[in-house]
């Protein structure tokens, strides 16, 4: 390791001022700080308190928290494929089929990760070169989330366009990482959703029925197969008491859906890591879940006689993208509210909106994306109001003392 480090630093001299590749120094910096702890420290001026956690470590923690959801999502993609093609019947899981499911899903999801990273990082690096800045690390997480929130049958070129659109128009024009108003990964998904609605919704979007890279492409669909997601079934049914699944099925997540969003426990594992390390705020998560639960319960009790409104409140919490959004996307430190009190309000707004969109708008079976984007819009305003209120309270206290 030491030897590699020496070689790497030797190699880095090419990028210093006057070196061969001086113009590409931000490339080197990006990899340097990614691989090694930066050696530079701030000057000994005054008192400084500084944690060892820079934004690269923070981003890597989020990526680690996402790994369980990704691995489970890969398995689920293969599992749904085997179910759809009749290779697997209920209770007939064998070791060979298990590995086939995982291998199939791995190969199906891998291109999404590659496309999202190559396109997104390509733009980030190019912009950094043009602006002569360091390469910001924000895309590490975004690039990992995008594959997890798109349907598995989305064509890769659409993912590439959506990623490019999101990185340029939701991030770079606002000034890059840390300045974006909206969650970049969600903008990519919103772009896909509005630009190519036929590829993003419907019965064929969420299950890879054909093969992956030519593997298993001969498999025939079983008769009467429907690939609708539970939320999709709820939105289209005319049966007001339809229950597409029970709680544990939804929580275990072996159901059709976007790659990373289906499994409750994999997401909760990530949530525990994020909360213990202090990367994401438990207040936002709790607030979203509580408000969504209460809103859904109110619709259960007083809502219209439709399947979605009658869908039990605890089921709403584990269905669709609600958990994934609450844990990984609404808590994004850049786009969420920053004041502690603001986090409760911000979470409540999202939790309320997601259920309202699900229940009252049959055009959007899943409301989490739009709810979080709306929350992002209001986050600065919420912070502003909280800060104003604090100032007023303190002024009043000061006057009372005086």
């Amino acid at each position: 390791m030491e030897k590699f480090y020496q070689m790497w630093k030797e190699f880095g001299k090419n990028f210093e001022e006057g070196g061969k590749w001086q113009k590409l120094s931000s490339f080197y910096d990006a990899f340097d700080t990614f691989l090694f702890t930066p050696q530079t420290t701030s000057g000994r001026v005054g008192a400084q308190v500084h944690g060892g956690n820079d934004s690269k470590r923070t981003m890597i923690l989020v990526v680690m928290a996402l790994v369980p959801a990704l691995l489970f999502g890969m398995f689920n993609v293969g599992y749904q494929h085997l179910l759809a093609t009749g290779q697997l019947v209920a209770g007939g899981m064998t070791c060979a089929l298990w590995w086939k499911a995982f291998g199939f899903g791995f190969l199906a999801v891998l291109p999404f990760i590659l496309v999202s990273y190559i396109v997104g990082l390509g733009i980030e690096f190019t912009v950094a070169q043009i602006k002569h800045e360091e390469v910001a690390e924000g895309f590490l997480v975004t690039g990992f989330i995008i594959p997890l929130i798109v349907p598995i049958n989305t064509p890769l070129w659409m993912v590439a366009i959506a990623t490019a659109f999101a990185v340029i128009f939701a991030k770079e024009i606002f000034g890059g990482t840390g300045y974006n108003i909206f969650n970049v990964a969600l903008i990519a998904r919103a772009f896909l959703f509005f630009a190519y609605p036929s590829a993003m919704t419907g019965d064929h979007a969420f299950i890879r029925e054909g093969g992956t890279w030519g593997w298993d492409s001969q498999a025939q669909l079983v008769d009467g197969f429907s690939g609708a997601t539970p939320m999709g079934q709820l939105a289209t049914t005319t049966d007001a008491n339809l229950m597409p699944m029970d709680f544990w099925t939804a929580f275990n997540g072996l159901i059709p859906g976007s790659v990373g969003e289906t499994c409750g426990w994999a997401i909760l594992l990530g949530a525990i890591l994020l909360i213990c390390t202090g990367v994401a705020s438990w207040k936002t998560m709790l607030s979203i879940l509580a408000t969504a639960g209460v809103t859904a319960w109110l619709f259960n009790a007083f809502g219209p006689e439709t399947a979605v409104a009658n869908y039990p409140w605890y089921m709403h919490l584990v269905s669709g993208g609600l958990l994934f959004g609450a844990v990984f996307m609404a808590t994004d430190p850049v786009t969420s509210a920053r004041t502690e009190c603001g986090k409760w309000i911000y979470g409540a707004l999202i939790g309320f909106m997601v259920i309202v969109i699900r229940v009252l708008n049959p055009g959007y079976p899943e409301g989490m994306m739009l709810a979080i984007l709306l929350g992002n819009t209001f986050a600065p305003l919420i912070d502003w109001c909280v800060v104003r209120r604090n100032i007023k309270k303190r002024l009043a206290r000061k006057e009372a003392v005086a």
Binding site: I161, I173, Y196, A199
Partner: protein, 207 residues
């Protein structure tokens, strides 16, 4: 006929450096509304050019006899008369396009470019300069509309002027139209991109 420098400037300025859409950010609402397809955008661009040029001429002709207190009313009457004539002509000879443009044809009256040019230019300049200024602003507005509509129709519906230009082969191999292009939001983003390019080119020249 040799044109004076001022006359030339009145025509060329609005095409680029003083473009009503890109620099003054006027007329954005109609740029969003009529640019889903190329044909209505072309017709809209030509209509606005004709109206702004003719109204500039008319107002410039009578500028000395217009009482200052009621000048807005008089300008509005001139514009409204011209808009009515243009929309009747379109209804007579290009009915389908007139229907596509619907209210936006009538709303040319409220287009900021028109009142802006009348107030800022025609009221204080001679007829020849006013005509050139009107034509320049009309074309300056029209070319933005045409560029935006070109991109939106090509990527949004795979057509140009209503004819399919993206071959069926592409659709069979997984290409699909971008529905986002049909939404007004994308027109705003495209106008933003043009402004971005325009500024970065002109800022370099200024340096």
């Amino acid at each position: 006929m040799a044109l004076s420098k001022k006359t030339k400037e009145a025509f060329l300025g609005p095409l680029n450096l003083n473009n009503p859409v890109l620099v003054q950010i006027l007329g954005i609402c109609s740029a969003l509304a009529v640019t889903v397809q190329l044909k209505p955008a072309l017709v809209m661009g030509i209509s606005v050019t004709i109206i702004v040029a003719l109204s500039n001429v008319v107002v410039s002709l009578i500028r000395k006899s217009i009482p200052m207190r009621i000048r807005i009313i008089i300008q509005l009457v001139v514009v409204a008369a011209l808009v009515t004539i243009v929309s009747e002509v379109l209804k007579a000879f290009a009915y389908d396009v007139a229907m596509q443009l619907s209210v936006y044809l009538g709303l040319i009256i409220t287009n900021c470019i028109l009142m802006g040019r009348l107030e800022a230019f025609a009221m204080t300049n001679n007829v020849k300069d006013s005509l050139m200024d009107g034509l320049g602003n009309g074309f300056g507005y029209a070319w933005i509309l045409v560029v935006v509509a070109f991109v939106r129709e090509l990527l949004g519906s795979g057509k140009l002027l209503g004819m399919q230009v993206i071959p069926d082969w592409c659709y069979e191999h997984g290409y699909s139209n971008c529905g986002m292009m049909l939404m007004p939001a994308m027109a705003l983003i495209l106008v933003g991109c043009i402004i971005w390019a325009h500024r970065s080119i002109n800022d370099k020249e200024a340096k």
